[in-house]
């Protein structure tokens, strides 16, 4: 089966600019996750979707980050405006259901550099 797709793979922007990342999960996977992984740290959950509804966005900096999964399939994560500390790899993952959260399938990630 096709894996989780993410684009772009790399992005360099200046602070205060905006950026958007796209994720297409594995077909049939109801649960979608966005993680932020800063260099030297583990993945930190930003937001979790169940179909097109938000399950957890407690660690999403809502003043600058937003995410949507309108049709319950692919998803977009946006940062506006970006700060230097947003430089990280943004990982998208999906699982069949919330009960299968232990088995998440990860995409290749998008490496964001904010200058």
């Amino acid at each position: 089966e096709a894996g989780v797709a993410q684009s772009p793979r790399y992005k360099i922007i200046e602070k205060r600019q905006s950026v958007a990342f796209w994720c297409n999960p594995i077909s049939g996977h109801a649960t979608l996750y966005w993680y932020q992984q800063i260099l030297g740290q583990g993945p930190k959950l930003l937001i979790q979707f169940q179909n097109n509804g938000v399950v957890d966005d407690s660690q999403l900096p809502k003043d600058r980050f937003s995410a949507e999964r309108l049709k319950g399939v692919d998803s977009t994560l946006k940062i506006q405006p970006a700060k230097l500390e947003d430089s990280a790899v943004y990982l998208c993952a999906s699982s069949l259901s919330p009960q299968d959260s232990y088995e998440q399938y990860f995409g290749p990630g998008t490496r964001l550099t904010v200058t």
Binding site: G42, S101, E103, Q104, F106, P108
Partner: protein, 110 residues
Amino acid sequence: AQRVTQPEKLLSVFKGAPVELKCNYSYSGSPELFWYVQYSRQRLQLLLRHISRESIKGFTADLNKGETSFHLKKPFAQEEDSAMYYCALSAYGGYQKVTFGTGTKLQVIP
């Protein structure tokens, strides 16, 4: 709150030597623990989970509730084991929430 601690950022061992990657967790209930691995230029992927109690690629991990630990072990390291290893915890608090540790880089020296 759930928390996962991996005390070692880097672990270097010689090929054929035993490996133990440490993981400690804090959670008041009954969590599920697992290990994820990321090989160079590959995606993060599930290695094993404590419930399955199986050996994957020669690795095993036992959940010790008394010590709140879930150390990953392998008796004889291979060069292909070199990778980043993340310990993770899943717990139910209205929904299944997963928390990852900071990761340990395993370097197997030929």
